[in-house]
Symmetry: C2
Subunit: 373 residues, 2 copies
């Protein structure tokens, strides 16, 4: 119904407002507002408050958004490690779980486990499926936004084109949204830590490298949903290094966690590289610092092009600490234009491992609230 979602969008900031407030803010007819508020009250999206009037006159009723109206099921699925949660409509975590799950077991095994886990988490938080307004899932590979299906995901054998939203929706009976992990990390970090920032780049440095882009406070997915794939930008001096994409000299093939592990004795995974750095292993520290500089070279170009206010560094390799950040900063501040770096902040993710999970919840909440009618 025209105007219902608009009223909800206004009330979502948590402030209580009277009908008179809402009429002034929207220009909608008073009768229309009464009608729309009745719908929202019936569905528990909002709650009424009796507000005392200072002058002692008749109290006006104010209405505010009800964060407890529904819950969201959210999951950030990684190559080998998953995080899931039940949250309220304000992304507060009501129950949470981490688990080591191999995504290369394929979609049915992974998603079957996810459904079971969601049921357990819901019970733990004291809710049922009737309270759930939607499910948000992040996957470690490219996802076609309109269909929520993985598109040639390199580290997810068996998942190409799999109808993740339909499969989950049939079993859970609620709408399901799917996006790639870096996009939802950007969404989550922006929502929780930088809500007033217009333009932000979230860089995930793990085994691979990618970024999520916030433009004008909204996720920029690009024309084919392929935006943010900076891992396959060619960097100078790497012409003879072959990348798994088939090209040579890609950033990921030079500075990704996998590339670093291959160059270090005693390291197989990105986590091993992080452990070596934390243990003070000098070759590991030198490699990570160098990787930071290579990533910085690519980000310097993105700063000139996009002029973000903030760059957030996340992902497993970020856990190696200041060595990565120092390398990135060194090159970005040397190579980007002074006007573009004057107020630029480059910092670690504040949400850390929870960024994707929170972001998947934000994706669901925004879609659900926008379609209330």
């Amino acid at each position: 119904m025209e105007g219902t979602a608009a009223l909800l969008a206004i009330l979502r900031d948590g402030q209580a407002r009277t009908k008179a407030d809402l009429a002034q803010l929207t220009g909608l007819a008073r009768s229309t507002i009464t009608q729309r508020l009745d719908v929202l009250l019936n569905e528990r999206w909002i709650v009424p408050h009796e507000e005392a009037i200072a002058s002692g006159g008749r109290p006006a009723t104010a209405f505010s958004f009800n964060q407890a109206a529904r819950v969201v099921l959210t999951a950030d699925l990684g190559a080998t490690h998953d995080r899931l949660a039940v949250t309220d409509l304000g992304t507060t975590i009501l129950a949470e779980r981490m688990a080591d799950v191999q995504i290369d077991r394929g979609p049915e095994a992974t998603l079957g486990w996810l459904v079971t886990s969601f049921h357990e988490l819901l019970a733990e938080a004291g809710y049922t499926l009737d309270d759930v307004c939607g499910v948000g899932v992040g996957l470690p590979g490219p996802v076609e936004h309109s269909s929520g299906r993985p598109v040639n995901p390199p580290i997810m054998p068996g998942w190409d084109g799999f109808a993740v939203p339909e499969w989950l929706s049939e079993r859970l009976g609620v709408p399901v949204l799917v996006d790639n992990d870096v996009n939802i990390m950007a969404l989550g970090e922006h929502w929780a830590a930088h809500p007033q920032t217009d333009h932000l780049i979230f860089v995930k440095i793990g085994t691979g490298i990618g970024c999520g882009i916030i433009s004008d406070r909204r996720l920029h997915r690009g024309s084919q949903g392929a935006a943010g794939d900076i891992g396959h930008i060619q960097v100078a001096g790497g012409q003879d290094v072959l990348c798994r994409c088939g090209n040579t000299g890609c950033l990921e093939a030079i500075a990704g966690g996998g590339a670093l592990a291959a160059q270090l004795e005693g390291a197989v995974t990105t986590r091993d590289v992080v452990s070596l750095v934390r243990a003070g292993n000098l070759p590991a520290i030198r490699l990570v610092r160098h990787a930071g500089r290579e990533i910085g070279t690519v980000l310097a170009s993105m700063v000139n092009f996009f002029n973000p206010a903030t760059i957030v560094i996340g992902g497993t390799l970020a856990e190696a600490g200041e060595h990565v950040l120092a390398g990135v900063r060194e090159v970005v501040y040397r190579r980007s234009l002074p006007l573009a770096t004057e107020h630029l902040r480059i910092q670690f993710s504040e949400l850390g491992g929870r960024a994707g999970m929170i972001g998947a919840a934000v994706m669901v909440i925004e879609q659900v609230l926008a379609s209330v009618d």
Copy 2:
């Protein structure tokens, strides 16, 4: 007044609508709509039509946007060459002029000439200053968007921090908006040739190199208004080439028209390079093709990062024809991700030399219509 600009935004597409149509589209109360339409009719922003009803009942009045309600003064000032025009609210050109003017004569001489020329053009088109709703100006250097003032413009001595909007507004008595030339070219090209495209990059290749970015159908200026400055991205193999910005290896220092002219006998300006290419001069053709490849390398990275649907190539060097475009395409299609290039179009500007002038008019019209109340 709440809702007036919203009604205008709906009617701007040229389609006529009745009060009933507008009530349904906006959810505004009927009395509110009548009130707002009266304001718009009084100010001539819209015009009424008596529409016959098929059933033979009482004819309903429909309303449509009046493109002739006001005119816009628009100018695209270059380093040595200016274009100006009077347009209506649909960017139709009513009178137009080109002139060779050196922008390094300083702001007062240049803008004084502009004021005189605008008066002459208005008279030629049969209008007076009373009909003008705003002035749009593009400048060949960085402009702080909020103030409309040039910021350290390298080729505009005497212009740094000059209050262009205030200076013109005092003499013309109407609001003045100023932006850099590449931003308005992107706006103009998007408006006129790609209105349904969500994400577009307009690359201007002249003496310098820069781009304007359309994200989600709106101009992306970035956090400091510095977005699009790809001319100073470092390209491989250019480490020993000094750029006027103080860094080495910048794209502009390798592939800009100035850099090419310096390497060609008989060429001083970018236009000279274009003339040599058109005359079939082989060294010039080879240089321009190579420049296209270097620009393509940078654009390939931007395609991976931003995933635009369309890249438009404009600016003086674009007049050298297919050699530039071939070089750009060659590298972008080789180096960008298949998903990002699957539907990517790379083409010349359709507006050509008029892109900036039309874009400056669009900038003014959008601001004026959004603030009608």
